[in-house]
């Protein structure tokens, strides 16, 4: 599956944005730092919802109220991460292609994004009194594990 994507990696490296990032000393650090700032905002909002789903953290508020208030921060954090992430990626796409950390990160990121905007959305919008408790637990554990995996693998790209 991975090798089928090779043309996409090759194409990404030809984009002007990649050339800009690769050719400018300050671009990579600045974009990478923005990526981490967005991570902080996204993780913070998400962790509070995840904790609440298992009855921890902000217990005085309902899941749906917390989600309504924090979801914009989660989503905007994610959007900024995806944009800055692609900019970083396009500056060294072929290096990423052969990097096991990057590969695992993508293998976790795709399910994480799909999950976040389908199942997670659905569970957090349900009526808490009627929702089986196991659903909340499953959504919380899955989203925490997937996104922590994405974060750790992202950190690993520079080391492997």
């Amino acid at each position: 599956m991975w090798h089928l994507l090779k043309p996409f990696f090759q194409w990404s490296e030809t984009l002007w944005v990649g050339h800009f990032v690769a050719g400018n000393t300050w671009a990579f650090p600045v974009i990478e730092t923005t990526h981490i700032l967005a991570l902080t905002v996204m993780f913070g909002a998400m962790i509070l919802i995840d904790l609440r789903l298992v009855g921890l953290g902000m217990r005085k508020e309902s899941v749906s109220l917390l989600t309504r208030n924090l979801e914009p921060y989660m989503n905007w954090g994610l959007i900024v991460m995806l944009v800055t992430g692609f900019m970083l990626f396009s500056s060294e796409a072929m290096k990423c292609y052969v990097n096991d950390g990057f590969r695992l990160k993508m293998e976790l990121l795709v399910p994480a994004v799909l999950f976040q905007f389908t199942c997670f959305r659905w569970v957090t919008r349900q009526d808490e009194a009627r929702r089986p408790r196991v659903l909340g637990w499953a959504a919380s554990v899955l989203s925490t594990v997937l996104w922590m995996g994405v974060g750790v693998c992202g950190r690993a790209i520079g080391f492997v």
Binding site: T25, P29, E32, T33, I36, L37, L39, T40, V41, M42, F43, G44, A45, M46, I47, L48, L51, G57, M58, R59, K60, E61, L65, L66, N69, L70, Y73, M148, G151, V152, R155, A156, F159
Partner: protein, 164 residues
């Protein structure tokens, strides 16, 4: 003993040598540092925004703050432990690193901000304004200073790894 000499001595300690010589230790500790950042600073951001009256506006300010705080502190503890270990692995490099100095400076500012805000009347009498549409100026200011100083801590932390 000067600060540099202390750093040079730290660099020779067994813990410093073992983290530096292991290929797995540094990435693992740094990965943990990053996850703890999400838990600690991420939740601090939410409480700062509440102090500024920008998020969870209809929820009691003290409820929001006191429910978030234990998790922020837990994450902070992990960040400090992993951060100290990362520092110990290359103290001399950190000593000469401008970004690292900024990081410590703004960590200190974040700490002072908390200490000062917690000693104000506005904090002690939060029950008087916790449902107000518009938080008092001191609360807004404390939230803003916290947001900015943590933002700079993250920026400086990330740039510590680069050599400009």
């Amino acid at each position: 003993m000067s600060l540099l000499e202390i750093c040079q001595w730290l660099q020779t300690t067994p813990i410093s040598v073992s983290i530096r010589e292991s290929s797995l230790m540094f990435p693992l500790i740094e990965g943990t540092h990053l996850l703890a950042l999400g838990l600690s600073t991420g939740t601090i951001v939410v409480s700062d925004l509440r102090m500024m009256g920008l998020v969870l506006k209809k929820e009691s300010a003290s409820d929001v703050l006191h429910q978030i705080l234990p998790w922020a502190i837990a994450g902070y503890f992990v960040m400090v432990v992993t951060g100290v270990l990362l520092f110990l692995s290359e103290p001399v490099k950190c000593y000469g690193n401008t970004s690292f100095r900024y990081k410590l400076l703004f960590l200190l500012l974040a700490g002072i901000n908390v200490a000062v805000f917690h000693s104000t009347k506005v904090y002690r009498r939060m029950n008087e304004w916790e449902h107000a549409d518009n938080p008092p100026r001191a609360a807004k200011l404390a939230g803003l200073i916290s947001l900015i100083s943590w933002g700079i801590v993250i920026i400086a932390g990330r740039t510590t790894a680069y050599h400009f």
